[in-house]
């Protein structure tokens, strides 16, 4: 027997899982702090790579000048300058990541709650079906 009520709920669940929920479902496995921490770590990695590429591009751009001045320039100062820039770059990214991901977690958690409540309803419907069925058989 098809249970229309249950199918309706399951359709909504499936729509969520395949749409909006794709992004949010993994969040359910994390605590808030772990989720944000993990995302910030990922951001650290990506922003480091991005800075590396930026550095490479500017290096290529100024290659000729650098080659010419190589012996006169203060290498230590040059490296410190780059490191300072790197720290600033990464720090900006970390701040943005922190804001964005804590907001995303809040939003995701709210939508997951609705999902979970529907899931529970489906479960209850299942249970009821299962307890009812043998009874029907018996009545026949």
């Amino acid at each position: 027997m098809l249970n229309k009520e249950r199918i309706r709920l399951m359709t909504k669940l499936a729509a969520y899982e395949q749409g909006e929920g794709k992004e949010y479902l993994p969040m359910g496995r994390f605590y808030r702090r772990d989720y944000i921490g993990f995302q910030m770590l990922k951001t650290l990695l990506y922003s480091t790579i991005a800075f590396g590429i930026l550095f490479l591009l500017t290096f290529l751009y100024q290659m000729e000048n650098i080659m010419e001045d190589l012996y006169q320039m203060d290498l230590r100062e040059y490296i410190i300058g780059i490191l300072v820039r790197y720290v600033i770059f990464v720090a900006v990214y970390q701040v943005i990541a922190r804001v964005v991901y804590s907001r995303r977690y809040r939003k995701g958690h709210r939508s997951l709650k609705l999902y979970m409540s529907r899931l529970k309803k489906v479960e209850k419907l299942y249970e009821r079906e299962e307890t009812l069925l043998p009874l029907d058989d018996w009545e026949k």
């Binding site: 399951m10 395949q18 591009l57 290529l60």
Partner: protein, 331 residues
């Protein structure tokens, strides 16, 4: 107006019915135009600039998400640049990787605006982009449009310097890397456009989120006025006065597109029909879920039947209303 509303309703119905075919169709056409444009403008690798290749690639893109088109377009561009000069290819690759790690790792769904921006810029109506983004997208996706702008100006610069880059001259005065990178780093037109488009999209977004009446129209008007102002001022400052007419025409096109978008998108959900699959212990379910039509708030009209101000009706009014002689009402 009623005709237009009917048209809109019919379009929505049509879209809801045939969404299954329309979406891949749009993807195919978009991919095809993209690949043809790349081949037509920077088709340095003759084997790839064959139309058959473009069509085959577009067919592949039809069945994949938009981001596949973006990736394929990037590969195609890099291949052509490689045929032109190794330096251009390396810089192109680095630029694309930079965008990937600075932005697309965090907002992976923004491929369409990245594709559309260079296309519209090439067609001379790039001004449409900020209007569309502001009206339709979230504020962070504006960055995606800006990435598209960088790509466009980079490729345009490469095209303008193709003779220089293709030459096999070891004793060149400036290295090819410098020439290639100058297309991005010293391109003042790029900076002006980035500033103008970014600001415009942001302003349009902020205004259209306000709750006053006709906020979308106001947003389109204010945003495009600002865009025009910044672009024109920038053009005069950097001395590029030859494309002023194009900028004005582009902005007019943007305003027109903005008004069209307002009409077709405001308060209206072309809500998607969903096709879903799931199973339980006994069955597989293939469900087509069609959302119910909802009436948008805008079409609601309140008709006032009795006016409060004029409670007392004179004999003259009554006679007029029933179209009878006033004297009949005399008692």
């Amino acid at each position: 107006m009623t005709k237009l509303l009917e048209l809109r309703e019919r379009l929505r119905e049509f879209y809801g019915k045939f969404e299954f075919y329309i979406k891949p169709g749009i993807r195919f056409v978009a991919a095809l135009i993209t690949f043809f444009m790349i081949n037509g403008n920077i088709g340095y690798m003759s084997r790839l600039s064959n139309p058959a290749v473009a069509i085959a690639l577009a067919l592949v893109c039809t069945f994949l998400p938009v981001n596949a088109t973006v990736v394929l377009a990037a590969v195609l561009i890099l291949a052509h640049l490689f045929a032109l000069s190794l330096e251009a290819c390396v810089v192109g690759l680095l630029l694309i990787l930079l965008m990937l790690f600075m932005y697309y790792k965090f907002a992976p769904k923004e491929g369409s605006s990245l594709l559309l921006t260079p296309l519209l810029c090439r067609l001379g109506i790039g001004e449409v982009m900020p209007t569309g983004m502001g009206l339709y997208k979230e504020p962070y996706s504006i960055l995606s449009m800006l990435c598209g702008l960088v790509i466009y100006y980079f490729l345009r610069g490469i095209k303008a310097n193709e003779a220089l880059l293709a030459a096999v001259d070891e004793e060149a005065e400036v290295s090819k890397f410098t020439v290639v990178l100058e297309q991005v780093m010293k391109n003042r037109e790029l900076y002006v456009t980035v500033l103008a488009f970014g600001l415009t999209a942001l302003v349009i977004y902020v205004i259209r989120r306000q709750s006053f009446a006709r906020s979308w129209t106001v947003a389109v008007a204010v945003g495009n006025a600002l865009n025009l102002l910044v672009l024109l001022a920038g053009s005069f400052l950097i001395g590029h006065t030859e494309n002023i007419l194009r900028i004005i025409l582009g902005t007019l096109a943007a305003a027109a597109v903005g008004l069209l978008m307002e009409f077709f998108l405001f308060n209206l959900d072309y809500a998607r029909t969903e096709r879903l699959q799931f199973e339980d212990d006994e069955y597989y379910y293939y469900v087509k879920a069609v959302p119910k039509v909802f009436v948008s708030g805008r079409e609601k009209r309140v008709k006032q039947i009795n006016s409060r101000r004029n409670d007392r009706i004179s004999k003259k009014d009554l006679a007029d209303e029933f179209d009878i002689d006033r004297e009949l009402l005399d008692d």
